[in-house]
Symmetry: C2
Subunit: 337 residues, 2 copies
């Protein structure tokens, strides 16, 4: 699997080892119960065992099983295999709970994967299937909300009680923290990538969705469509725009205008103290953050313009959030480290 | 004072008695401490004494003192006069707290009127001024947030834990309830009327604000500008659109499109269960609600489309919210009915 298949920026956030060995970057979530944590994506699964010190053991990335009929059960089977391998490698670390985060529309309270086009399920009772298989409490959440929770506890949003985390990669996903708590609205909140701001088509069926013009994936695709040349990622489009290419410049500016538009909406409506931006596109740095700041200041007046803050946990935010939630599940079940 | 000066729909929500007598409609907030309540607007003040049964006594509407230098003190002086008259009329009802709600940008936690163009103040310490004058606990809030709180407790939003209240009149103000609590963000949240969705100018200094195209005031003004004829209110523009007038039809449809656009944004981002619509424009009934529903369904896909619900408390929502907050202040101060 090439990195560009999953990361349209062309900038991998963690090195991928095809043999499924440890990733270079580990992170600590602090002291607590040992837990298993999974971050399931459309193309790969991150898995790790977190010990009592909060260190990720055996952190790896392996392919997600095929979607379609039976996908939920195939996924659970695969997670159990990964768990068995982790336990065999670290027999002294006995997990007390499991964290499991998935993409799509997720009702974390019901424990149900409501819909995922990538994983090919509808109304899949993932949490119950996992709890039955593992015989442990399972914390279940949306991948980006879990990632944003990790950014809130450990990363770029940790200083703010009201923030929005935007993960801009293949798509755009968002998560909203209100008074220090995730605002989920049964899984429907935070769909900033599918907030309709224009008239262009979006595969979701709505018109003018933000992610269809401003995600790293859209920037790369739109440049390829306009120029006939596939540069392979948004990073290359941004570089070409900086070098004076008119088509790249137009597409990058349309993405920036759309992002600024959506952040201006957020500012007027929920007034977050900070918007934390992660995902591949956030690695564009000043080319992204400075331009968004300029556009927000131009666009708004008396509003409280949020701080635009880079996410800090990079591609590991999802599994760290998964582990944090697993710790909460372990605590709720009364277990100790 | 004519009603059309304060109600651009031309449909007064409560009859105005120029002599300042009781208004026809009273309402009960239930049992609790007797309280004084004020709802201060740009042109008039509503005032009442709520007794232990929650009945509004002496509910009246009187002109707001002039803005500009010294406006906060002039306002407090006037409120004290109104309170003295209410107490004299009802010597047996001894208020235990005061509710005071004002428009503009309001930091209700600090008790400060941050900015009001209508009242002409900046950083006015209204709560402390009022508490000193009345010698009673003062609950201080934004007028529309208080109105929406009343809609939440007593009115159209009472069945929902996550809702947005939009008051569409001269301007458009909003208030957001998250998990049953008002989300204020230090007074900056809920500025849906000043969410920028286009490129037209807005007096606030931003571009494309919703209220500059979709408020009752904007509909009336835009028709007058386009046709050279001032019909006096949005109600008349909507009636003319229904009768086939092309200019009225264009302006009304632009307002509906803009409102649907903003509600679609809310739906994707915070996913309220209901959007409760009040203010003069809400009295357009099906011409408003049916059209917004159609547009939302056309615009969105997998999103959870909120119920569009009429507000129920009409023009009294503000003072009812003020009284509800005063009751909370009385409880917090340990007083009893």
């Amino acid at each position: 699997m090439s990195t560009s298949a999953t990361d349209p920026t062309g900038i991998p956030d963690v090195p991928i080892d095809a043999s499924g060995e440890k990733l270079a970057r580990a992170a600590s979530i602090g002291h607590g119960a040992p837990v298993l944590a999974f971050d399931v994506g459309g193309t790969d699964i991150k898995s790790a065992l977190f010990d009592g010190d909060g260190t990720a053991l055996g952190l790896r990335r392996t392919p997600t099983p095929a979607g379609g009929a039976g996908a939920p059960q195939r996924l659970i089977d695969r997670l159990a295999e990964l768990a068995d391998e982790l336990r065999a490698q670290h027999p002294d670390v006995v997990p007390q709970a499991v964290g499991l985060v998935v993409p799509g529309i997720v009702d974390e309270q019901a424990g149900v994967g409501v819909f995922s086009s990538n994983l090919g399920w509808r109304d899949a009772p993932i949490r119950d299937l996992a709890a039955e298989r593992f015989g442990l409490p399972v914390a279940f959440d949306h991948d980006v909300r879990a990632a944003s929770w990790a950014e809130h506890v450990l990363g770029g949003a940790r200083s703010y009680r009201n923030s929005v985390v935007l993960i801009i990669g293949t798509g755009i996903a968002g998560a909203i923290l209100i008074d220090g708590r995730p605002h989920t609205a049964g899984g429907y909140a935070g769909e900033i990538g599918h907030s309709p701001i224009g008239e262009w088509p979006c595969p979701c069926g709505a018109r003018g969705c933000l992610e269809a013009i401003a995600s790293a994936g859209a920037i790369s695709r739109r440049y390829a469509e306009a120029s006939g040349t596939d540069l392979g990622g948004a990073k290359e489009v941004i570089a070409l725009a900086a070098a004076g290419d008119a088509t790249a410049d137009r597409i990058w500016n349309e993405a920036l205008d759309a992002l600024a538009f959506s952040i201006a909406q957020l500012t007027a409506v929920i007034a977050p103290e900070a918007v934390v931006i992660g995902g591949g596109l956030s690695r564009a740095g000043g080319a992204l953050f400075d331009q968004l700041n300029l556009r927000l200041r131009d666009r708004l007046s008396f509003h409280r313009i949020p701080k635009l803050v880079p996410a800090e946990l990079s591609g590991n935010a999802g599994i760290l959030g998964s582990a944090l939630h697993a710790r909460e599940a372990a605590s709720a079940a009364g277990s100790t480290a």
